[in-house]
Every structure is written in C-alpha cells, then in structure tokens.
C-alpha cells in the first residue's frame, strides 16, 4: 500500500491502488487523523462514523447547497440533492412516494427481463468484461424503464452520463486538459436540459404513465412544478441513477470473484442475497464519499474548518468503523446489526435507495442463477476509479 499521508501530512486517498481495497486506508485515517486534509485540493476529510453521520444529519452546519463548487455541467442546483431543508423537504414529500419500495417493486419484472437478456448475450462465451457487458447497461435500462423511454435511447444516455462524469473519454488518450473537460461537461449539460425539455414538449396533453408523467402532473401546495424544476430533478436522476449502481455491481462481483467461499454461500442459498447486498454495500461502499460545504467555522478534532470550505465525508470509512460495527473488518452476509450509511443519512438519504437495492438484488439473483462459478481472468487485475469506485475493467471467465 502506498503511504497514505505525504510529506506535508496531506491525504493521498483517491488513487487507483488505494481504491481497489480502501478499507485499511480508512482504518489508518480514523486512527491517525480523523479530520485530515486532502492532497491537491486541501479539502478537509472526515473519517469517523459518528462525525460523518452527525454532519449528514445537520445540513444547517454542513450544507448540500454547493452546485457551483462541484463540476457537473449544471446551470442550476439539482433537485433535491443540492438544496437543503426546508425547501428540500417539500420536494422530498413529492418524490419519496414515487421512489418508494412498493413503487420500485413494480419495475422488477422489466429489470429481471433486461438482466436475463444481457446475461444471455454472453453466457455461452465463457467470458466478459463485466463493466461494459453488464454493470453499465443494466442501470441505464432501469432508468429508461422508469422514464418510459425506449431501449433504443441507451447509447444516447450513456453518452450524456459520460459527458458529465467522464469527459476525458471524449478527449485524446492521456489528455489532462481540465478546461476542455469542463467545456464538455457544460455542452453535455445543455444537451441534457434540451433532451428532457423536448420530451416534456412531446408529452403536452398526454403526460404518460411513468415517472416523468408523474412529475408533469405533480403539485406542491396546490401548484404544479415549473419546467425548470422538473429539468433539475431529471438531471439529478440521470447522474445519480446510472454510475452508482454500475459501480456497486462491479464492486460486488469483483469481491465475489475473488472470494469463492462467499460466492458459493449465496449460490447454494440465494436467500442470502439481500443480506449480501447490504453487507457488500457496507464493506465496499462504492460511493466512498459525499461532499458538503461548511456553513460556519467548525473545529473538529483540533482541525479548523472555515465557513465556505468543501468538506469530504468518507462514508466508506464510516461503514467500516470498528467502534460502530462489531467485527467490522470481516464480511458477514448474515450480520445481525448493520446500520451502514452507504445511502447516506439524514434528510438527504439517497432518494433512489429502494431502486438501487431492487436492481442489485435482481442482478445478483439472475447472474448467479446463470453463472454460478466465475473468476477474474488469470493474469489480469481489475481497475477501480476513485471517488465512485466503478470497476472500470473487470475481465471475468467461467466454464460455459
């Protein structure tokens, strides 16, 4: 493992080598510097469970109103992620029922069919690159189902998502042109707004029986949502709904490919899958960190955080904190007590958590029913992206 703290005591965390297996680095941080400062950005980094969860529950101190500080190509804050209570509460009251567990359960047959079809495309080949063959397309098809859009839109949505999250894909290999990357984000952002604007126009008089239709007829305090409000919701759903589940699928399958005893356990007893999904959300925590902006000066573990600073809260570290999880460093699919915050905590608890859980469970069931035994291709090493731990290269093989 590379040194976590550099010669200036700055944290070097979001590196591919650390991200492959970040839990020991988290433990180091919690023990040695519960609040440190990040290399390059100098942003404060908070790593202990109680501090992370306290912050997530106190938006008046650590706010989510930071659309200008994070580069996501937006022209306005995304709703409801980048606004705080009380305004955020009104949107959540409207959106929570649209993303409830019951509502998401209605999508199970469609997601199951898509998962089966994707697996069917490569099962007989005896190998696949998991990220591109399964982890990327499945959440995108779920998004299209939710919005009542045809599957033929898949390439468009993947391009829009990458334009914001991985603009470097559209630059020459190896290019580190930050300005150009930012330009790509903003032009992609304009395309996202335009896409949903057109879709809303198309539905004039006939809103449709899907999420966008629900948003078009929804009212808050007797008043319909304005077009911009709907756009700002759609923008968030596009960005938040695709990459996160992709990353989680990759982390789960990479873990199971490398831990055959655990894999066999769920193959022999698929009833363990919901518990395995929870435990791997805790252990892998693919969305490693969430940012907040300090609304006031705060001193935490002798570190002064100034009002206006963007603070990184390491939920991956919170989820592996020995003070809050018995036997925190072992992976137990039958863990009795699991209060992980992989979906955050407090008022901004992930709106799509029930959708994500459903997708993950269905995917794990269908994958292991068809491909119960698989390995990482000999001689290959999976690569993990920092921040959101997408396993961008996960070559798998099995006996077809």
């Amino acid at each position: 493992m590379p040194e976590l703290l550099d010669e200036n005591q700055k944290i070097r965390l979001f590196l591919p080598d650390v991200m492959r297996c970040p839990q020991p680095a988290y433990a180091d941080l919690r023990a040695k510097c519960p609040v440190g400062r990040m290399f390059f950005t100098n942003s404060p980094v908070v790593s202990r469970f109680e501090d992370v969860v306290w912050a997530l529950r106190h938006p008046e101190v650590f706010s989510s109103e930071m659309d200008l500080q994070v580069a996501l190509g937006t022209e306005r804050p995304m709703i409801p992620q980048q606004i705080d209570p009380p305004a955020q509460t009104r949107y959540r009251r409207l959106l929570d029922p649209l993303f409830s567990r019951k509502k998401m359960a209605e999508l199970v047959p469609a997601i199951r069919a898509h998962a089966k079809a994707l697996i069917g495309d490569f099962a007989e080949k005896g190998e696949c690159e998991f990220d591109s063959a399964f982890a990327i397309p499945l959440p995108c098809t779920a998004f299209l189902c939710l919005f009542g859009l045809p599957l033929s839109e898949l390439p468009t949505f993947l391009e829009l998502k990458d334009g914001i999250i991985r603009p470097h894909k559209f630059l020459p290999p190896g290019s580190a042109d930050l300005e150009k990357a930012q330009e790509i984000r903003f032009s992609t952002g304009r395309r996202i707004y335009a896409y949903f604007e057109d879709e809303m126009k198309r539905r004039a008089g006939n809103p449709g029986d899907d999420l966008l239709g629900d948003l078009l007829v929804a009212e808050i305090d007797g008043k319909k949502l304005e077009h911009n409000e709907i756009l700002d919701i759609c923008y968030l759903l596009l960005l938040a709904g695709l990459d996160t589940v992709t990353a989680t699928l990759g982390c789960n399958i990479a873990y199971l490919a490398g831990n055959p005893d655990q894999r066999r356990r769920i193959v022999e007893n698929p009833k363990l899958i919901p518990g395995a999904v929870e435990e791997l959300l805790r252990w892998e925590t693919p969305v490693t960190a969430v940012p907040r902006v300090a609304k006031q000066d705060v001193t935490l573990h002798h570190v002064e955080i100034k009002a206006g600073e963007v603070v990184t809260f390491l939920i991956g570290s919170a989820n592996t904190d020995d003070e809050h999880f018995p036997d925190a460093q072992s992976v137990d699919f039958e863990r009795q007590r699991n209060i992980h915050v992989a979906f955050g905590a407090g008022p901004h608890r992930c709106l799509g958590s029930h959708l994500a859980r459903m997708e993950l469970q269905v995917a794990m069931e269908e994958w292991h029913a068809r491909i119960p035994e698989y390995w990482i291709k000999p001689g290959e090493t999976p690569t993990y992206s920092p921040g959101i731990r997408e396993v961008m290269y996960l070559p798998l093989v099995w006996n077809a």
Binding site: R93, P97, F99, A345, S353
Partner: protein, 64 residues
C-alpha cells in the same frame, strides 16, 4: 417488549419493514409506521432486527 418510533429521525431507509414486515409497516413515502407498540414474543426477533438495522437510530425497544 415495547416499541417506540422517533418519527422525526426516520428518513425512509426502509430497513425495518423489510426485515420485520409483521411489526413495521410503511406510509406512502416509505417512512416507518409501527404496526404495534406492544410486541408479542413470537415477533420479538422482527422488532429487534428493525431496531438493529435502522441507520438513523429511530427505533427504540424497552423490555424484553
């Protein structure tokens, strides 16, 4: 066994009603609704599972 729910803390993670469906229900928004406050012995495990898996610490158990 008695159950208490702090509604102000619940943010709708939904762990309780998935793990203890006979003890915990959900409202339209997916927030917890207690189906009972006095828990019979036969459902004690479900009540405990709900309490032990709430990331917000919104559920409390008194007695056994």
């Amino acid at each position: 066994m008695r159950l208490r729910l702090d509604e102000a803390k619940c943010t709708g993670h939904g762990r309780c009603y998935v793990l203890g469906p006979d003890v915990f229900g959900e409202d339209e928004a997916g927030h917890c609704v207690l189906r009972m406050t006095e828990v019979p012995r036969a459902l004690a495990d479900q009540a405990r599972a709900g309490e032990q898996n709430c990331p917000e610490g919104a559920i409390a158990i008194e007695g056994d």
